[in-house]
Symmetry: C2
Subunit: 322 residues, 2 copies
Amino acid sequence: MRLAVVGATGEVGRMMLRKLEEESVNAEVLDLYASSRSAGSCLEFQGSKIRVQDLNEDHIKRGYDYALFSAGASISKHYAPIAVSSGTVVIDNSSAFRSFQEIPLVVPQINGHLLENYRGIVANPNCSTIQMVLSLYRIHRRFGLKTIVVSTYQAVSGAGNKGINELTDQEHGSKEYKVFVRQIHRNVVPIIGDILDDGFSTEEMKMVNETRKILDDDSISIWPTTVRVPVMFGHSESVFCETVKPFTIEEIRREIVASDDVHLTEEKITPIEVAGSDTVFVSRLRSFDSHRFTIWNIADNVRVGAATNAVRILKRHAGGAK
Amino acid sequence: MRLAVVGATGEVGRMMLRKLEEESVNAEVLDLYASSRSAGSCLEFQGSKIRVQDLNEDHIKRGYDYALFSAGASISKHYAPIAVSSGTVVIDNSSAFRSFQEIPLVVPQINGHLLENYRGIVANPNCSTIQMVLSLYRIHRRFGLKTIVVSTYQAVSGAGNKGINELTDQEHGSKEYKVFVRQIHRNVVPIIGDILDDGFSTEEMKMVNETRKILDDDSISIWPTTVRVPVMFGHSESVFCETVKPFTIEEIRREIVASDDVHLTEEKITPIEVAGSDTVFVSRLRSFDSHRFTIWNIADNVRVGAATNAVRILKRHAGGAK
């Protein structure tokens, strides 16, 4: 398999390499690309050192089977179509193509069938969306979802190395902020992305639009509030759902337990315990009635919410192509 | 006016003293009580030093006009009725009496009329509840509230000095925790209080029961998730509401603006900016339709959520008694 990773030195890019190793993906060729600032440095993969190359149009046309992109929306917009033109399947972690009707937005456990006989760009969803739909997809299929109210507690690593460094610097006394719109140390910041005219943020609208697209149901009414918290790794979500059909809490429990790569626990579980895992952890399932329930939902945002899902897309596509 | 403060050395107790000063409350007598561990120390009030006394049954029967209690539910249960028996009006910050039908649970801006000609114990509500009902009471009166889904981001000072110290110690490398059920530094903990049989926590059920009691409406369906975050001062809340009657967003805006001690802002506002204020700050008001909206609601939990409300009760009661 001939592979490229674009944005290889970033938080998600490096985790993609680690996931490719963990999954023992057999790469005959593995080319790593980054901005000219990071080009020339070396990253380890399966015991050997690989030099990071400068991304340019000639390089990305080298005819890879798969290119994993995680270098921001503008890089994806420019280079992903070029890669596709040389026959490469692009798995894009940015938001550049997610809303395009003809582009599959894939969480393999839910809608992996979209990858069958597909070639082109595959969009990797937003981190907060992936972990939420993984916990809800079986409930959606069985009972229908009418309304979702979700409030997030998002780790600084969601903003990459820069986010981690900004929190660390502030812990050591820095008062500067530029990655987040306010100080994040000893604080919570209820704005991620830009605020749109109707008052919702771009991050919130990703959760609205991507959840509907992945679950293939535009009738779900989704009310997100996306919030940054001073946590390094692990996004948490307080998720309230109203279903179309009535349920017993035991039925909801069974659907969550049966969901792929989701673990329902009675434990007091927090982001610190979840960091480093490829599983979504659901706790605090509870309800006052037969058509509404609420859960606490945590996953490692860099893994489940980005790199792991991208590599799962790759493996599912590669498996389906066999 | 003859005053006593029980639990004077705690986080809320000390803020009660500061609020009594700020409001220029004229105390002929001000006795401060604490556990024997803190008795003997001195606290400043209006320029003089006051020695903290050991609380006992004889002391609390000295015939105060008002006693402000903030020393935990078990102290209140024992000593508040004794104080009342000697003619004192007790303003109790603990949860000991809040659910008793005959005990008024008061946020003066909302149901201060309950204080007229009342003598006995007045309960000061839970911190998260006070700031939420202050932002919603006018909306409730005009449009009715059918459902509230609230997720909190609660500061460590809500657990008093001990909570502040535990976060500070962990920031300096301690791995121990006993105030919170998990590490709070670089983490969020979705359990406050005890988990009850139905899966809701005691803190969450306070929000359910106290909101209904203060707004005098048991028909409101309330779904809280209460979460501790590594913030020193300032509770934040992501609040979603469904109303009985339809509204325009401009009407909701006007009701919030008209609410006493509530400030609606377009600014990007976070707990750090709100700490030290007696105002509730509402931002991010938004909606997709005509019967549901969502807001971000912040207040200083030690002030608005405890000491300020207690002193407002005192002033309102004292004013009404004139």
